[in-house]
């Protein structure tokens, strides 16, 4: 997959933004400034940004709880994220969603709390765009742990049966909460389960290579867009972060974490950018400073935004 210099830098910037957003979240938690626990996607930014890059704004995405990666990828902006995390009226959900972010303008339909509850919802949006003839693609992004949830099964079946424009994107980060995924999953790979439904599948062995992620995903998105039905893509990656802030830890071997830190997707893409002379280290450092400033501004915007009033609790229930 050949990217233009501009594209490479845009993707790099997004990955960086995700990392800085989550680092900031960690800091704010440590200082007691924010109370919402974090589930960070450190080390998985290549997947989150790589899978969302081939999507159009009007495509639908059902995201995960693992940080802000795919939210940034799909086009949500930091200030909208922080405003919601800070529970302010300026949040797109006016503080009602919190972690359960949404930005329907860019196709971010909302993060469910019950893992897997969105498999069938994604089938529904894909069915809807097919019935309405809009050409929109739906992507449902989920983890290895979530892939075992019951609704995966009828959802794959219906998506295949109706040949819906949908991509099932599975981030296999090797952990489901506080245990290795093989403690609860019978097979090493998730993607081949698609075959049972007649759905094509692919494994991206190096999910920390954003270009590989992009290429496999773009193919699946194109297939969907052409009306050729669903695809399941699995991305092998690793959760360097704890499951959540406050996590007791200890169940991920130290060496394993160290090993994977060496495969950091941002570092690797950075090296490639410099190597291919797309930008210099200085350029990237400038970009980093810009990104940090963007994050700081967004946090400030959120912090200065008004709180909802108690009576707002009654709003937004019914249309």
């Amino acid at each position: 997959m050949a990217f233009s210099a501009e594209e490479m830098l845009a993707l790099y910037r997004k990955m960086l933004l995700v990392r800085r957003m989550e680092e900031k979240h960690g800091e704010l938690l440590a200082s007691g400034d924010i109370w919402m626990m974090g589930h960070f996607g450190t080390g998985q930014e290549a997947v989150a940004i790589g899978i969302t890059a081939p999507l159009k704004k009007e495509d639908y995405l059902f995201p995960t709880h693992r940080g802000v990666g795919e939210f940034i990828g799909k086009g949500m902006v930091p200030k909208d994220i922080w405003a919601e995390y800070y529970g302010r009226t300026t949040g797109l959900a006016k503080g009602k969603g919190g972690l359960h972010l949404s930005d329907v303008r860019v196709g971010l339909m909302g993060l469910v709390g019950s893992l897997g509850a969105d498999f069938a919802v994604a089938v529904g949006t894909a069915l809807s765009s097919k019935m309405r003839g809009t050409g929109q693609v739906t992507m449902i992004y989920f983890g290895d742990g979530t892939s075992n949830q019951a609704d995966f099964h009828p959802s794959m079946n219906l998506a295949a049966l109706w040949q819906l424009p949908i991509v099932f994107a599975c981030a296999n980060n090797q952990y489901s909460e506080l245990a290795h995924y093989r403690e609860t999953t019978s097979t090493e790979h998730i993607a081949p389960r698609a075959a049972g439904y007649g759905v094509p599948w692919k494994i991206v062995e190096d999910g920390n290579d954003i270009q590989a992620v992009y290429a496999a995903t773009a193919e699946a998105v194109d297939r969907a867009r052409r009306g050729e039905g669903p695809t399941l893509v699995e991305y092998k990656t690793y959760r360097i972060a704890a499951h959540f802030t406050g996590d007791p830890g200890g169940y991920q071997p130290k060496e394993e974490i160290e090993e994977w830190k060496k495969k950091d997707p941002i570092d690797r893409f950075r090296a490639r950018i410099i190597e291919q002379k797309v930008a210099t280290a200085d350029d990237l450092e400038n970009m980093n400073r810009e990104v940090i400033a963007e994050v700081e501004d967004a946090v400030k915007y959120a912090q200065e935004s008004p709180w909802p009033a108690p009576e707002d609790i009654y709003q937004d229930l019914y249309a």
Binding site: K96, M109, A126, L317, A319
Partner: protein
């Protein structure tokens, strides 16, 4: 002008009319093309397989699919074959459909109907006979319609389909063949308006679905002794028309609630609690609840008929409340 149709026809006609009117309305569920109870019969012939869509047997996914379609501009009418199976989709209904708009701060709307069929009495056993409507009153964000007549079925279903929010629509197996008058012209019944199915002055009986008819039969019998029962049919459980119920209790001073399912934490529990709070001063006697005993629905006819509340138990409750 009016005409007489069955409850099943009322549902079938309303679905057809709304599908004719709005091409975003479509039907999905198990066997909705052939339709064992007939509510969706003939629709696939008129509207095609795209809009009358058989799904696999997976109730949670039926509701999930409807949620996704609804939030992106369609107006799905999903069917869950039996009300028992609503529990298979409980998370999708009570935690997702009910909350999605709220958790997005109003960014989406969910014009979605879930129709289902409740009711015991056909010797279908513990898991094809339940009336589960009460279970959906505790979660927020759901509107619940419980029509007892062809007139109410058509009028409430029309409102349900046109509503921009999730609506649960409970039909009763034994009501399908019953008939009643409906206006010739199209009409809709607003949610939250109870219907006084019979005027009375001594006791208020609040009943739903098939129990409305049993309450009316009980009222007829009691009337011969000069006891005039007022039968109030809430028609929707959420929103609940407290005013009509309270006005009736104000008049009669006595309340009996009747439902087919278990009384424990049933529909009557909410109504009784509401009246014990907001209509306490009207009450001249203890509230009586009539419902099923706290057991699963047994198969054997003598047991099943012990399970289902009947006229006699309603009459007894009315007598009790009269002291």
């Amino acid at each position: 002008m009016t005409r007489t149709i069955t409850y099943q026809q009322a549902i079938n006609e309303t679905l057809r009319q709304e599908m004719e009117k709005d091409k975003m309305v479509f039907i999905l569920g198990e066997d909705v093309r052939v339709s064992p109870f007939g509510q969706t019969a003939g629709l696939v012939e008129q509207f095609g397989k795209e809009r009358v869509r058989n799904t696999c047997i997976a109730e949670s996914a039926i509701v999930g699919t409807a949620i996704g379609a609804a939030m992106t501009g369609m107006r799905p009418v999903a069917e869950i074959m039996f009300a028992d199976f609503m529990y298979l989709a409980m998370d999708a209904i009570a935690s997702q459909a009910a909350s999605w708009r709220y958790m997005t701060g109003g960014q989406v709307k969910l014009p979605l109907v879930i129709r289902t069929v409740s009711g015991a009495g056909w010797a279908m056993g513990y898991n094809h006979s339940q009336s589960t409507e009460a279970s959906f009153m505790h979660p927020p964000g759901l509107k619940i319609a419980v029509p007892s007549t062809p007139h109410d079925a058509a009028g409430l279903l029309r409102t349900a389909i046109r509503d921009d929010n999730p609506v649960l629509f409970f039909e009763h197996k034994f009501l399908f063949p019953t008939s009643g008058e409906v206006p010739d012209e199209e009409y809709a019944i607003p949610f939250g308006q109870a219907d006084v199915k019979r005027q009375g002055k001594h006791v208020t009986v609040v009943a739903t679905l098939l129990m409305v008819h049993k309450a009316l039969a009980a009222a007829d019998e009691l009337s011969q002794e000069g006891i005039e029962v007022e039968v109030v049919d809430p028609r929707t459980l959420t929103p609940l028309d407290k005013e009509t119920i309270l006005a009736s209790v104000k008049k009669t001073g006595r309340l009996v609630t009747v439902e087919e399912s278990r009384a424990r934490n049933g529909v009557g529990a909410e109504i009784a609690a509401m009246v014990a709070s907001e209509g306490f001063d009207f009450l001249d006697a203890p509230i009586q609840r009539v419902g099923a005993p706290d057991v699963p629905i047994p198969y054997s006819p003598p047991l099943e008929s012990t399970f289902i509340p009947n006229e006699d138990r309603i009459i007894e409750a009315v007598r009790r409340v009269l002291g």
